[in-house]
Point group: C2
DNA sequence: AATTATTGATACGGCCTAGTATCAATAACG
DNA sequence: CGTTATTGATACTAGGCCGTATCAATAATT
């Protein structure tokens, strides 16, 4: 479509610019998740995006700014629930059937996915370098998920307990690279257990 | 005691070697926790330990081996409960009063401390580079903690639930650098809540 | 059609770091 | 006491990477 043939120089049209920027962010996203910030060179990002480093710098600034742009795009995907195909996207908070267990199933599938865990790991690793980015991630991810559970009818305390139990030790092990992504049926079992325990643990409003 | 005056050369006595190696591990431990693996140079470790890089290499090998040595020493501290003064050390599993809540209080104080959280963050960051080290950390930390709860009278399921709730979202936020270490009273409240919920959530054996 | 902005290709400067080498000094060991 | 291992101090090699510069090419813009 707006795909510019490789090796082509000259001034790009605005549509081509958007497509090129998206390619850069895609390439950076992939490399960051599989190697981490320090191990990704901008040469590698530029090569995978089919772009030279100069274009990369004029479009995003420096390496840290590129990281921020990548993560913030992911945040805008989470909660959108559109056809972006992002594995860590959360369903819209105002879904038709606000059932707590179904909401928990959706959250578990999203946040326990390979991509979401890799992003979580990246944010923990870079929290020292980018504190505000870590805060944004927390709000767009774990906090938003708990808010969805509140929308589904839980109290804030119940939502926090249910969310904690939903991820549980599995999430800790996954952050350490010790476990694979759970199956959908496993996620459903976890979600049901987490919601039931949370309801029993906190008094009704 | 066996402290060699700085700038002194020549063959060291075995006691001096041990003291020197401990100084190196201390220096590496401090720098790793406050800066992370990639941001710590071996020159910085050598300088803080009062040693030259050559000594560092002949004593430990390369940079990755030094990381492993540092983390493994921390593992040997955890569970020892002696006078090492390590903040993430767990009390001995066969303590006199195996009360679940008191055990949970001890675990919470240990694993929610600044040092333990920093180590946890380091292990998550380096899990890709050192999978076996991440596995060892998990066994010596979270798994050992749950085992202590089992020793204190909980079932394995109850222990996992109690441990998960004890750390909870606070631990997630601390990994992201968003929260400070909790007060002892706060830890006690968390421990009591976590154990009570875990007991209620799982059937008695 | 002329101008101007932007890119590709490439190279380079500057900086940092891992790891090694050299040499003199010095103390443990036999 | 002589030998030998080990260290301090320092310099060095090799490599990687960030960020910038140069120059020709090319297409959007006017």
């Amino acid at each position: 479509m707006t795909q510019r043939s490789i090796g082509k120089r000259g001034r790009p049209t605005p549509a081509e610019r958007r497509a090129r920027d998206a390619r850069i962010l895609d390439a950076a996203w992939e490399l960051l998740l599989e190697r981490g910030f320090a191990e990704v060179s901008l040469d590698a990002v530029a090569a995978r995006a089919g772009v030279t480093k100069r274009t990369l710098y004029t479009a995003f600034g420096d390496k840290l700014a590129l990281l921020h742009a990548v993560v913030r795009r992911q945040h805008s995907y989470a909660g959108a629930g559109d056809e972006t195909g992002q594995a860590d996207a959360l369903p819209p908070a105002d879904a038709a059937a606000p059932d707590p267990v179904e909401t928990a199933v959706a959250i578990g599938g999203a946040l326990l996915s390979d991509e979401a865990v890799a992003l979580h790991r990246l944010m923990i690793s870079e929290a020292g370098r980018s504190p505000e980015l870590a805060a944004e991630f927390h709000e767009a991810g774990p906090l938003a998920a708990q808010q969805h559970l509140v929308t589904a009818g839980l109290t804030p305390d119940q939502a926090e307990t249910a969310f904690t139990l939903l991820l549980g030790e599995l999430h800790r092990r996954r952050l350490l690279g010790l476990d694979a992504a759970p199956s959908p049926s496993s996620i459903r079992t976890r979600a049901a257990h987490a919601v039931a325990t949370a309801l029993a643990a906190h008094p009704h409003p």
